[in-house]
Symmetry: C2
Subunit: 197 residues, 2 copies
């Protein structure tokens, strides 16, 4: 279990360790990443990291939890001021693509977590889907969104966001995030059927 | 590089090796999986596997390529007889969830390929997206689907299928695949907006 530092200095060191771990695992992955390299990146004396974490596994798990919180906060700021629920979804996708472009290592860590820390990986997705589901239900209550929305729709939206963050965030930046999110949002609002049919 | 066997017996052994590799990597993942265990599962004499593959890495890569071909063939059979393009998409998702339920190891291998064999992983997704894109364009030409469909829509559909296969195929079988695909298909056709707005 992550040890909670009692001093301000300790808490600052913990932040430094998490940043170093993000770089290390984000670049090399969990298997190639090492505690000694994380210590070096964080400028710690040998063994100092063990005042904070017992193992590489534990650092990785703390990182997945941190990413969950960090990403949630970034999204919350965007969602709060959206005029309606579908505009909120548009902003979430755009924020997600930009977030991944800025922190490519994060995408790798989250995907690898499926094998290294399956409960954390699943918790992250379930937290995302719960928030999307709540927004969809709010939209249904206000009459914006069809009344039969549910969990399957929420998972579908998460799937779109994860894949488009990979394609347009990690693999290639050949489309502007706001165009990607506009195209997807229009599809989500109106569907793919031709309007004449 | 995978060696191509010249005899029928050799080709049969290769099939047996691929099945053993699918079990081994599907259960244990790439890092924990071993060549000696694949040999044992395939009932080969020690060292016999090296008549076919030079390394664990090479077996894994051949497996990703095989999965690509196998899944493509399963889908093709479903798509060929669909009345229209959106019905084809519905069947693809349903087939995908069932496929993953029957072969849970495959999902793991494909996801892990992102790190072990990134080119193969990306080729697999690009092949999927090309086929979805072609179907969408055919639908646009016939007037079924809106004329502005493009690559972003195709990636969005792949994202939905991958996530829902994870959620309703690997994690829990708490919804029937044909219900999941029906809900998604209706969303893809008509969108989430309330019809009265």
């Amino acid at each position: 279990m992550r040890k909670v530092p009692r001093t301000r200095r300790g808490r600052e060191t913990l932040v430094t360790i998490m940043e170093a771990a993000l770089q290390e695992f984000g670049e090399k992955g969990f298997h190639e990443g090492s505690i000694s390299e994380i210590s070096r990146r964080a400028n710690l004396a040998p063994g100092g990291i063990y005042n904070y974490f017992d193992s590489k596994d534990e650092i990785f798990r703390a990182l997945v939890t941190d990413i969950n919180v960090q990403f949630r906060d970034q999204i919350a700021a965007q969602v709060r001021t959206a005029a309606d629920e579908m505009t909120a979804e548009k902003r979430v996708l755009e924020t997600g693509i930009n977030f991944v472009r800025q922190h490519k290592g994060i995408y790798r860590i989250v995907t690898e977590a499926e094998f290294i820390y399956p409960e954390g990986h699943r918790a992250l997705y379930e937290a995302l889907v719960e928030r999307v589901g709540n927004r969809l239900r709010d939209g249904a209550l206000s009459g914006e969104i069809r009344p039969d929305v549910g969990e399957i729709h929420a998972w579908a939206i998460i799937g779109i966001n994860v894949m488009l963050a990979l394609r347009y965030g990690v693999w290639a930046a050949d489309e502007a995030p706001d165009r990607v999110s506009a195209v997807v949002n229009d599809m989500l609002k109106h569907g793919l059927n031709s309007r004449t049919t």
